[in-house]
Amino acid sequence: MRRFLKLVAIEWKLTNREFITIFFTLIFPILMLLLFGTMYGNEASEFMGGYGSVDVSTPGYINMIIAVTGIMSLPLTLAQYRERKILKRFMATPTKPIEILLSQFIVNILLTILGLVLLIVVGKIVFDLHFFGNFFEAIFTFFIILLSIFSIGLLIAGVSKNAKMATAIAYIVYFPMLFLSGATMPLQMMPQSIVNISKALPMTYGVTLFKGIWLGDHLIDYPLEIIILFSITLVFGGLAVKFFKWE
């Protein structure tokens, strides 16, 4: 256990030295919040279904943070570790390679939580952000979205031949999800064709579910989203376990 905690502590330090990761998980979401919050304010409006714009957008931004850590940071780090034979080097120690994987998982979860907390604190202070839902349902929602997105990231890490390929796949997966899932721009603003595309993106279901829970709906209102997110976790996670290459 002491060994594993040391590993997590060091991987945490290393992740915090990655400027791009830190920028996109901790700073960029707050910039988005500040930009759109300043433009539209957080007054309840008819267009937003009777809620403030910031209240509606925040759960989307949280999805965005999960996508950065799960689809960019996690697979890129793991693919790089494999390419540079770091995973192999660890395999030649009493450490099990799965511990490296797990430590990366934990580090990225911690980073996601830190990004989420910062976002909420800034939202609260600047725009008087409201949360209308049930706290425990929100926590549950956060984790099923996180697991589904991280399992996609794990598959990317597992099948990429090298860090370059992992980067390419991560960008191809990440950017459409960022703009077309409703995470950054509400789907109500989109033409029907985009809405149709969005249905093929896993994060769309995360965004819909988290928005609903955030604004006071309950888990029972979203069986489809929950089933889809669980299925993604099972399928992608299963494929990742099956195809993950250690070297």
Partner: protein
Amino acid sequence: MNVIEVKNLIKKYKNFTAVDHISLEVEEGCIFGMLGPNGAGKTTTIECIIGLKNRDGGEVNVLGIDPNVDYKKLYNLIGVQLQETSYQDKIKVYEICELFTSMYENPVDYHILLDRFGLHDKAKSYLSQLSGGQRQKIAIILALISNPKLVFLDELTTGLDPKSRREMWDYIKELKNEGRTVFMTTHYMEEAAYLCDKICIINDGKIIALDTVDGVIDLADIDQVISFETEEDIVQLIEKEIKGINKIEKENKKLKIYSKREDLLTDLVIFLKEKSIKYRKIDINRPGLEDAFIKLTEKTRKVE
């Protein structure tokens, strides 16, 4: 006592046999060197011996442990430097040392190791800022943190400048003097000749020589060459008067005499003196490990 025993080790990749019935033993306290052309199977052999790869046949026993069975116990007893491994971006020297320290049951104090390798003032530096030689020293330090009886070094000195390489040699000798056994691979013949008590040359996954440095050179059965310059035409005279010459080459003024006779030089000098033949730049070239290596690895290629 043998610390490594390998019997008929086989490793296959699909249709390609990377390691083909390799058997070897490594005695405690010696430096064992594995040589071979690129792609001969050196790294695969090491990886099978330490259990990083599952073998397809044969027996491997390292410090009494089968690496495919109890790797965790084994990794607490050995130290490993793998070929071409780099470490995490932006990790500092003391951080990677602490990380490896946390992994082992009986680690040694890494500060002592940093001191010994002259890197104590680099503890707070990023690993990526170190020179190639310094990074290889870190690789040895990490291999030594477990305080191993047996150290594996896979092409430790490849890519280092000559000075750093010599420095590494001293460190490797030190490991032996401390009573550790070293299993190493290298492409540098002078390195193997200087360091290794026993040498194993492999080619296409098979052992083609396994002996001491001198034993391997003898096995290659290469002529020694005596060369000198003279103005006079004495080729036929030498061939007639001196026994045991395999070949004489003449290039302008230079004569090259090929023979296996150790005492040929004496006869030759006496002959030259008796006949009052003027000569200069006399030189004797005994076959070295590199000549033996090239001859042995070429021979097996031709057989194919």
